[in-house]
Symmetry: C2
Subunit: 230 residues, 2 copies
């Protein structure tokens, strides 16, 4: 990368970190557990989030922010759950940053929340460096994408607290080698927590919901999420 | 995006366009037909390219450049075809640019080529703005990624000359709605040429090879590829 853009980018990342810290303090004050989802385009972030909002909604106050370059397709799908959803349209920008989250949260109504979900732009590269003030960053990888994505996109896996293998209903059709995939994850991020889900069949969704509830409980108990590394 | 980074980025894109023009002239002089592949991570660029190199190699002089943030997995897979392959490791950079291609080509041996393939970093956002001097840019989208990717990532579809729907062997398992996918493509890029392939079953690969041969013939006949728009 040309030196000038590297320098400008470093300054931007530093400013982002300061904003993210402020956001994290505000979220802690409000007692809301904030979860971000990152992945390639089409790995199933929106489908998993739809199921999550639908199932948590009866018992918790939930809301979602969703980033896309264009369209509000994802926000429309998420709104079907009945939860409040805010679309962040990034134009040509390839990731969400703390400022976009801060702006979206500020214009929102001040209803207290238990869970706030942030669905990033589909991109396995650029979101890695941008802290959004979240408590938990989950990186999704679908069984149809190939097993070696952690090796090829290491930064995003380093920045994540949890990996979710998605579309496990397609594992046989895609000839997915799960043992290999786990070795690839282990090599890049030893001991990273891993869940397996199919939002379509519902397999594994309960485990994901329990993980979220445990995170909220820990946060409310004042104990930081033991997985949080960013 | 902050104004300063927008300005720096515009200057970089301008410099890239000049380099890409120089590359395109050099490729034209050498009579090599240059094809770039862009897509999300895991859409099947490498698998299709392996099949392509294997099948063209008996009749044509072929070579490939492949970009990844980390690892030379893809280059190793592509080299199994017997074709010369150069890995471009981009580190944290989320796309290839004309300078990287220029450097890779310059250090290479001067064997005359019929086809040069350039596999970009898996990213449906950032490669859109970087012309690489190619004759044909193919954007791949797999049946497992969902039908609305053109709407959500319009810039990359605007920059492409051809869309390749991949992993069509998984279409039924993924409940892929091809009519919807074609409507989504048509809405963003009317009359964009569309191919369907499964590199695994071999379906559609012949059509792709014929398309490549027709492109080479047109280039050698001095007629520019009618689809080239970038």
């Amino acid at each position: 990368m040309p030196p000038r853009i590297v320098e400008v980018r470093q300054n931007i990342l530093k400013a982002n970190d300061l904003r993210a810290r402020r956001l994290r303090e505000a979220f802690a004050h409000a007692g809301v557990y904030v979860v971000s989802l990152v992945s390639s385009p089409g790995s199933g972030k929106t489908t998993l989030l739809c199921a999550t909002l639908r199932q948590l909604r009866g018992r918790y106050r939930v809301a979602a922010l969703v980033g896309d370059l264009a369209t509000d397709h994802d926000a429309a799908r998420l709104r079907e759950s009945g939860a409040p959803v805010c679309q962040i349209t990034t134009g040509t920008v390839c990731h969400l940053d703390a400022e976009m989250v801060e702006r979206a949260v500020a214009t929102w109504d001040r209803t207290p929340l238990d869970f706030l979900f942030i669905e990033n732009v589909g991109n396995l590269v650029c979101p890695a460096g941008y802290d959004l003030g979240e408590d938990l960053r989950a990186v999704l990888l679908s069984v149809t994408e190939g097993e070696d994505k952690p090796q090829k996109y290491p930064a995003i896996f380093h920045s994540a607290d949890l990996a979710i293998i998605t579309k496990v209903d397609l594992a046989a059709a895609a000839e997915y080698d799960e043992a290999l995939a786990r070795r690839c994850l282990e090599e890049v991020r030893p001991d990273l927590e891993i869940l397996r889900v199919s939002a379509k069949s519902g397999a594994g969704v309960d485990g994901w919901l329990r993980r979220l509830e445990a995170g909220l409980l820990r946060k409310r108990g004042g104990v930081p999420d033991p997985m949080r590394t960013v």
